[in-house]
Symmetry: C2
Subunit: 506 residues, 2 copies
């Protein structure tokens, strides 16, 4: 019944009926999924315990600031020494405007949000060592408007000659040509010439300063430098998840985790590393290690939010289907480096406020901070890369990662030399309690393995972004937590309905 | 010499040398241009007086909040009664990231800024009474991605058939096809089908919720409803001035005016309406009216920032060229209405956070507020229109404007009925001390009339957005102010250089 209600109501309505009446739920992992489960189950009257291997909550929802500690599987722990007030989000850094549940929790937990400026026409494309535009930083606005211009020009010309394979009526074709001229900024002869859309050599100003426009890049040059390659040219902005409006939590994304932590603080057992999960006939037994040694805790049910590469190394008596799913679902490699600079040269010298520079080298992306604009210092994300590139960079020592970020970054921003202060890097696939960025499904793994983890294995439920179609997003953690809480609660309350001595309503 | 330095330095460097030594400058108008002149001239040692006709400073840089007073030429004064903390910007509401001087003054004056979210794929297009998509609200993301899809599909098909008039090599053509497929989100057969980029009927979520995508709109329907018309489809986002990143002053754009006001407070004479500007052989005489009657003030020089339609009705002894320029340069008609709602239904029900809905009716645009996201109440800009539409709506009474905004607005947001509280509208061309939105030049007026106002008419200088290529923008006011201050100061200091008893350096 509770589940029935849930379907009909909007995503953020979550009025489950019935009571948990003190049923003991052991939750593994104090990331967003685990803490949300604890928070919602406690509202329903369950007795929750959350086991977290780390000394901090939040999991991947982690902002690096002064004092943040991090080690990797093959590297000793380091401590961040950024200036007070500066931070970068090592994990999720963006909230799409349609992730209602993430925004709902921000509101419910009192976490203020601000715009994450994902789209910035002022940031650059940088093609290292490729083609005629090699090693030039080119503003996004130049690339976007040049390509738009050439494409619409070719199409308008073809239509003028009656050669377009489109089956348009003559009237509609005229409308399309009008559209193409506006879309591409074509001149009256339907040619793409330089346009103010791609920026100025000299800005327009007062008096006799109408501004001076540069010539466009040549189409062949754009092609030969790879700027139209699907893996470089940024169509990412078109994707549903990356369309503006985007948000971030004010003061760091970890403010969401910290706000949840406050709600579930009494239930948290920190520095508790789970070593075994055992289904019992009437409940579940969790074995974990803490400072005092091996501990055991029993519960009626368990919700396991451990990332699958971590869970894969925890002893268990799961079904063969569940074990296979845990082993076969892939996670990606990904990493970020934060670089603190003593001057926001990207703003002061280059008019870049937030947004992303795209490169074809191992940096992949540079993220400019979307907070504290016009202030003195700032932290750039010096690279944010994936897969092979992230793997290569992840292999480096912390010092060599910094070296790489500076060496490649100064090709774009020579100010790096003068202004750099310090760095901090995180490779998620090299990080002990993560061992991956996020779940990446193929059609096969989605079809063959994913379903096994959507049901409880006896008394153990599974939750986290990996059990959604919102992989990598905080919304995945929240949606999954709610889904599992509803499922667990449905089982508990329906069981109780069989007994007349319960107080379950409707 | 001062001017020479200025040219070489970046826009925000402004280290004029030499001293004004108490020269008396009368500045007409306490908008951004006038106050910036006073602020900069005072730094140089001039003795400034600023005459302002209104009881408030800022001119068009005006945020409407509780207590704001406004009358129009044919209408009695009204007072805004919005809730505390709510406001809308009746004048400029956006700062492009490349308007360095505007951002420079925000920094110098200590005005914090925040992102103005000009691009939002979640807002709507709404074609009233036109074609098959008539009276449907369609998300920007649907329109943008459908059109991109169809255009790239047509072009890719034509290229496949070898019919594109482009003169591309075979290799380059292959690259272009790859690009088109990525750009349009085409499938493997180069066809545009529904894509997640245009949004979901059912959002993806946890467990068995992969999300459900709707069919695209038909190309013919988009054409026949005018959604590809250049005056409706939003290519405005491509223009240099409206590209993200954009900013606004935190707490209302008037914070910039108020911060300037603090700097020049001792020089301000408020409620002083200029009635005559007279060049004298050795200075200037300004006649104005205040509460006590007609007043006269004399100065060495004058900087007149009055909008030209206002200046055109002030007695003067200007040269014929200057008089002609004042009369012949056009201003546009424009107006906005702020609508206070007791619930931010656009956020809560429709996931719209900032950005703009475009209509083909008299509303033209609805602006959603880019501040206080997730809070309770909010003010929408219910219309922001220009020219004929603004003229039509400007003719209406305040009450009838509200009626129109609600009647047309509820077609898009039926929640208007339930949630509306109160309104406040401003028609700039109907406003006494403006009589227009901003200067709009044709090639002819720019060539034939503009230059006359760039030089002083004897001892009277002219400043304001109308004397720049940055019309409508606050940057125009700032750039013009600096340009005129440099010009005036150059004249003063160069004159002094002729006399050995001055302290002018270098």
């Amino acid at each position: 019944m509770a589940l029935g209600m849930l379907k009909a109501a909007p995503a953020h309505a979550y009025n489950l009926e019935g009571k948990g009446n003190g049923k003991r739920v052991i939750i593994l992992g104090a990331g967003l999924a685990g803490m949300t489960c604890a928070y919602e189950l406690t509202k329903l009257g369950y007795n929750c315990t959350v086991l977290e291997a780390r000394e901090r909550t939040g999991g991947r929802c982690w902002s690096i600031r002064n004092g943040s500690k991090h080690g990797e599987l093959d590297k000793p722990a380091v401590t961040a020494s950024f200036d007070e007030g500066l931070y970068f989000n090592a994990g999720p850094s963006r909230i799409p405007h349609h992730h209602q549940l993430t925004l709902h929790y921000c509101k419910e937990l009192g976490v203020p949000i601000q715009v994450y400026n994902n789209v910035n026409e002022s940031a650059y494309y940088y093609a290292e060592g490729k083609g005629p535009l090699s090693n030039k930083k080119i503003r996004n606005r130049e690339v976007h408007n040049d390509i738009r211009g050439y494409m619409t020009e070719m199409m308008a010309k073809t239509m003028d000659h009656g050669n377009l394979d489109a089956g348009l009526t003559k009237e509609d074709a005229e409308k399309v040509i009008e559209y193409l001229m506006a879309e591409g900024g074509l001149d009256i002869d339907k040619l793409y010439k330089a346009s103010a859309r791609r920026g100025y050599l000299e800005s327009p100003g007062a008096g006799n300063r109408p501004g001076k426009i540069a010539d466009p890049n040549k189409l062949a040059d754009l092609i030969h430098s790879g700027l139209m390659d699907p893996d470089f040219y940024n169509v990412a902005e078109y994707t549903y998840e990356l369309q503006m409006t985007m948000f971030q939590a004010l003061g760091g994304m970890d403010q969401i985790a910290k706000a949840l932590e406050k709600k579930v603080a009494p239930m948290l057992k920190m520095s508790a590393e789970v070593t075994a999960i055992t289904n019992l006939p009437e409940g579940v037994k969790i074995t974990y290690k803490d400072a005092k040694g091996e501990q055991v805790i029993n519960g009626d049910m368990c919700i396991c939010t451990l990332p699958l590469p971590v869970l894969s190394n925890v002893n268990n008596n799961f079904s063969p289907e569940v074990s296979k799913a845990i082993d076969f679902i892939s996670y990606n490699q990904t990493g970020k480096i934060g670089l603190q600079f003593k001057r926001r040269f990207w703003e002061e010298d280059e008019n870049i406020y937030g947004g992303i520079t795209h490169t074809n080298n191992d940096l992949t992306q540079i993220f400019y901070p979307s907070y504290d604009y016009l202030s003195k210092k700032g932290i750039l994300i010096g690279y944010y890369n994936f897969n092979e590139k992230a793997e290569r960079v992840g292999e480096l020592s912390f010092t060599d990662r910094e070296k790489l970020a500076l060496q490649k970054g100064r090709l774009i921003h020579p100010q790096y030399d003068q202004e750099f202060e310090r760095s901090f890097s995180v490779s998620w696939h090299k990080t002990k309690y993560n061992q991956g960025g996020w779940a990446v499904y193929s059609n096969t793994t989605r079809k063959d393995y994913y379903p096994a983890l959507l049901k409880p294995d006896k008394n153990v439920y599974f939750a986290g972004e990996h059990l959604t179609y919102l992989n990598a997003w905080m919304a995945g953690a929240f949606e999954s937590a709610r889904s599992v809480v509803a499922s667990l609660h449905g089982r508990v309350t329906e069981a109780r309905v069989a007994y007349p001595d319960t107080n379950v309503k409707g």
